[in-house]
């Protein structure tokens, strides 16, 4: 453990952190208990070793892919100036707004055997022309990397901007080249952000179910569904879920390892950011092309395809456009996303502050517990919420409370919100924690020694200093929540539908032209927080430039 905590023995804050952890971890633990409790009853599915290898290969592949694309682009737009750079800086985040399950389908319909690309190839080169297999692991890695790279891009870019140019200039004046400075100075300093970004990406990959299935890649998450639905054996499915969780533990452990024992807060005030270098002529346009290619693959092409379908549908069936469900579902979607984002941020800041106020092994483990929900597929989290409330009900009825909690979970949106918080607290905490990590303990010490009580330090010192992380956390959770499908599908009360459920209902029956309109609603709803996120980053950046 690094010295990120100040003092110990503040039982109130210890209790607060443990309470949050228990609340968030209970449903996940319920699933684990179900899985572990039924070992021996359920058969181990054939092909499990292969699923594990596939999962590992996919995760490493996507990690490498997002590192290359996200990290590379972050470096490119931070260290260089080239045509359209100022616009591309924020456009490059846009792929976040396209859910991977939509991107996967669009990719297949464009590039698969009957799609326009291969049809054109066959028309020009004859029917025997060789094309790489579209439904394959490498293609899944490619599509998921293009969809998830913004996580790495955002976090690495923020880290690069936050680094003062002094460090960079010092390395340069000491004779290090740009590349060497990047490797030896900037990258090590950006390590926490890099690690955080990659672990988010790997968790998303681990729990993805929809995209991998389009590419016929059998990961452990696909295995959960295969066993659950194919064998009518829920316990066998929870056992696989435990295995998925173990993978997540491995990811979190490697993230810790990658962060290392070092401290990353820079002493003194923040200086000027790195000054970008102008790329001229062909090199400049090459940089522009690279950025546009990533943007096109992850955002422009899928959105254009959706628009094309939408226009086709609107022409055939103009009444569909006036469907009042668009408005209703959009409002529902934005509502759950906003509440979830606020809840996750409040909890993250509380936990981060509690961690700082009251360190120790127990608190640190409790904090780790809060992040596991992100590593469990949404449907499993939903089931965890259901079975833990069923258990509470039984206990309450035994204790003489008739009816127990009744239909608290599935009779209202509370169940959805609870499950969302479990699922998305991890990205929120990652972002907030990254900001906390940069607050030197001396600041907290100073506040304490001046006699400020912890509550006041939270409000006046920690929360304000964690502001960059808070903003990122709000937006990341909002975007994730807008796109989320399995939880809302499982836990929604009668009369409550979101845009993603509508897409699911239509897409499940392969009505892609029809599904394109609600899919565009999701993209539009997700673009909103993406845009705010970018504006915020932009303001922070220009603000720093101006103040220096």
């Amino acid at each position: 453990m690094t010295r990120r905590t100040v003092g110990a023995n503040r039982p109130v804050w210890t209790a607060v952190v443990i309470l949050v952890a228990l609340m968030v971890a209970t449903p996940v633990l319920a699933v684990v208990l179900d899985g572990v409790g039924s070992i021996g009853e359920a058969v181990i599915p054939r092909g499990l070793p292969e699923m594990m290898l596939t999962t590992l290969a996919l995760m490493l592949g996507v990690a490498a892919g997002t590192l290359l694309v996200g990290g590379g682009l972050a470096w490119l737009v931070t260290a260089y100036r080239f045509p359209l750079r100022n616009t591309l800086v924020w456009l490059l985040v846009m792929p976040l707004a396209v859910p991977a399950y939509i991107l996967g389908f669009v990719f297949l319909s464009v590039f698969d055997v009957a799609g326009p690309v291969q049809s054109a190839l066959r028309a020009v080169l004859g029917s025997e022309v060789w094309v790489p297999q579209v439904r394959s692991l490498p293609a899944a890695v490619l599509v998921m990397s293009l969809s998830l790279y913004p996580y790495v891009y955002l976090l690495v870019r923020a880290a690069l901007i936050e680094q003062s140019a002094d460090t960079y200039d010092a390395a340069r004046t000491l004779g290090a080249g740009r590349g060497r400075t990047l490797r030896r100075v900037l990258l090590p300093l950006a390590r926490p952000s890099l690690a955080a970004g990659l672990s988010l990406v790997m968790m998303e990959t681990l729990t993805d179910f929809a995209t991998v299935q389009y590419f016929n890649v059998q990961t452990l998450s696909v295995g959960i569904y295969l066993i659950w639905k194919g064998t009518f054996n829920f316990h066998a499915a929870t056992q696989l879920a435990v295995l998925v969780l173990l993978f997540a533990v491995a990811v979190l452990a490697s993230e810790r390892a990658l962060r290392g024992r070092a401290r990353y807060h820079q002493r003194g005030g923040r200086g000027q950011s790195i000054q970008p270098e102008q790329l001229r002529g062909a090199r400049g346009w090459a940089a522009t092309t690279l950025c546009i290619a990533a943007l096109a693959a992850g955002f422009l092409i899928p959105v254009l395809q959706l628009l094309a379908w939408a226009v086709q549908e609107a022409v055939e069936n103009p009444g569909f456009l006036a469907d009042p469900r668009f408005g209703e579902y959009l409002v529902n979607t934005l509502f759950v996303a906003t509440v979830t984002a606020l809840a996750c941020v409040v909890l993250s800041v509380t936990v981060g502050h509690g961690m700082r106020m009251s360190g120790g092994r127990i608190v640190a483990s409790a904090v780790q517990l809060t992040t596991f929900g992100y590593a469990v597929p949404g449907a499993v989290v939903g089931i965890g919420v259901l079975i833990s409330f069923a258990a509470v009900d039984t206990a309450l009825e035994r204790a003489g409370v008739p009816g127990g909690t009744g239909l608290l979970v599935t009779g209202s949106v509370l169940g959805i919100l609870y499950a969302y918080v479990i699922r998305f607290l991890a990205p929120a905490y990652q972002a907030v924690d990254a900001s906390f990590a940069k607050i030197p303990p001396t600041v907290t010490f100073a506040a304490l020694s001046l006699g400020a009580p912890p509550r006041r330090i939270l409000a006046r010192v920690h929360a304000p200093l964690a502001r960059p992380g808070v903003a990122v956390a709000l937006m990341l959770v909002a975007i994730d929540a807008v796109k989320e499908l399995p939880i809302v599908l499982l836990l929604r009360p009668f009369g409550f539908t979101t845009a993603s459920v509508w897409v699911y209902e239509l897409a499940r029956e392969n009505f892609w032209e029809k599904a394109s309109l609600p899919a565009l609603v999701i993209v539009a709803a997700a673009v909103l927080p993406v845009f705010v996120l970018v504006r915020h980053a932009h303001r922070a950046e220009t603000g720093r430039r101006a103040s220096s």
Binding site: L108, V113, N216, F232, V339, R460, R467, F494
Partner: protein, 340 residues
Amino acid sequence: MSPRPFIAASAGLITLMAALTGCGIIGGQPADLQIYSARHYDLEGAFGQFTDETGITVEFISGDDAELLERLKAEGVDTAADVFMTVDAGSLWNAARLGELAQLESAVLDGAVPEDLRDPQGQWYGLAMRARTVTYNPDNVDPSEFETTETYAGLADSKWEGRLCMRDATSAYTQSLVASLIDLHGREKTLEIVRGWVANNVEIMSNDILLLEAIDAGTCDVGINNHYYLARTLEENPDLKVDLFWASPDGAGTHVNISGAGVVEGSDNPGDAQRLIEWLATDGQNPFVDGNHEYPVNPTVEPEPGIAAFGEFKRMPLNAEAYGDLNAEAVDLLAEAGYK
């Protein structure tokens, strides 16, 4: 974040949650009947017509068979659901086995639904039928090439090498077909059949529509599809170069599966729930099945013209217990054969 917005955000959040819990949250008066449905297509139309005829209002939550079943189990006696509707006979059998469905006694249903398409104890009834059969590109295949006594097994013949496209092993359609083959032939023979498909380098597609488009484009010659996907695609594009062959016309017949429903045990409105199922099996057959080009289960009801054009076929009798019981074995067998 300065202290004030932080506190404001927390306060706002707490108020919002309180407001939500307080006012019963979203949606007004619940409908008379509440339905968990794994089937989504055309429900609004059919239910709307039911409400017009009977005055009984209906609302539904769509989802997936297995997930809705877990929800039903967890909600127990508190559940709001009156009817559980799935798209797989095995799931219905499983829900009945777990005691989630009430036993009905209904002369109407016994008369309307053929015996193999309903539960002997009256816990569930089939309402719409789909067939999973062979589709092919008439430019590249002469239907006389198909094996007439066991068409599914015939596709394991080496003459189809490099010409086959099928759905993935994760698909419930594939699993249920293989489960019925295990029921018909036993495990060993079925394993041989699936190994034959794999040996023919079967191309695995992740959805039925893409599969039909691949056959149309000529990148595969033969596939296995649900009949209604072909009907729908033909409706959109009458020039589609895909024809349908009824599997095993001289043998056991074509594999079918059903969408069906049962009344939830503990429903607070079982009378109306039963009435809805009875209506769907009789007067409601056409509004319920036609939009999705499915076959009515009720032999007195005519299928819609699009699928009537596919002609009569002999269907394999549906053994729901086998679908439910053997599905796990089908999953295992597919993995053993290396079928993805």
